[in-house]
């Protein structure tokens, strides 16, 4: 728990971070930058898990454990997505969203 900070301020911060990620997801046209927006969204939710755990249920650990799983999932997702992006670049010489018409191997 952070002294002097209420849960409302923290949830406001993470909501703003989440919707900045959503904005990037909508506007970006390059697959790598879209993936970066997804990272922002995942991080906002991980912070929510930890801070709701510490503010509302300080004697439990569920949120803390789930945030570790989120980090593992984010790492897995990023590694696979970047592999797909590099493969796509080999196939069509572009990573723009509008050029991505086929995902066939």
């Amino acid at each position: 728990m952070i002294a002097g900070i209420s849960i409302y301020e923290i949830l406001t911060l993470t909501s703003i971070l989440f919707f900045i990620g959503i904005y990037g997801f909508f506007t970006r046209e390059n697959l790598i930058t879209v993936l970066m927006s997804v990272e922002l969204i995942l991080n906002a939710s991980a912070v929510n898990f930890v801070l709701i755990n510490t503010y509302l249920y300080p004697d439990l650990l569920q949120g803390a454990v789930f945030s570790i799983f989120i980090v593992a999932l984010a790492a897995a997702e990023t590694a696979l997505a970047i592999a797909i992006i590099i493969n796509l670049y080999k196939l069509i010489y572009s990573v723009e969203v509008k050029d991505t018409e086929t995902m066939k191997y």
Partner: protein, 186 residues
């Protein structure tokens, strides 16, 4: 003191997040994302959850950002600027995000969060480890094993996918004796 640090971290996180989704230089956008992730690690340090802060710094700061930088360097020229997004698209996306943010903030501000009497000290690594490997009620042994299987599958999958096949100049799949093998197998 902690209040001031929290506000400084919040300002860093939001400023660099905005810079990261609007910057047109892709390598700079990756570095701004790194600053956001470090700011979030600072938040974890503030609530005394040192283990996740360390994981955040090593996995994100050390692993994912390096992956992003390698992908950018493999695919783009460093100085390359991204195409400008159409103003109409920006406006629609901004309006949608702002509307979603307004709804979320309204829901948060009107929800009565329960008051707790339990006191919070810090989240210890030993407790996390026991919880992750516990078979009892509320233990996390099954998701833990599922995550490890998932990570192995992703590692193999990433290697297989990234190897791929290089195409010839006319953008048709190169057949290095692949076509004959296909017929034989059929």
């Amino acid at each position: 003191m902690e209040t001031i640090i929290f506000y400084i971290l919040a300002a860093i996180i939001i400023l660099f997040a905005v810079a990261s989704v609007t910057s047109r230089k892709i390598l700079r956008a990756v570095i701004y994302l790194l600053f956001v992730l470090i700011g979030i690690a600072g938040l974890y340090f503030l609530v005394d959850y040192n283990f996740l802060a360390a994981i955040q710094l090593t996995v994100y700061g050390g692993g994912i950002i390096v992956l992003f930088i390698f992908a950018v360097l493999l695919i783009h020229h460093v100085e390359l600027e991204l195409e400008k997004t159409a103003l109409k698209k920006k406006l629609i996306a901004g309006a949608l995000s702002a509307a979603g943010l307004a709804v979320t903030l309204w829901a948060i501000s009107t929800y009565p969060f329960p008051e707790t009497t339990a006191t919070y000290t810090s989240i210890e690594v030993a407790d996390i480890g026991r919880k992750l490997l516990s078979y009892e009620d509320g233990g996390f042994i099954l998701p833990f094993e599922v995550i490890s299987v998932l990570l192995v599958a992703v590692m193999i999958g990433a290697i297989v996918v990234a190897k791929g096949k290089k195409l010839s100049e006319d953008r048709s799949p190169k057949t290095e004796d692949g076509s004959e093998k296909l017929i034989e197998n059929n």
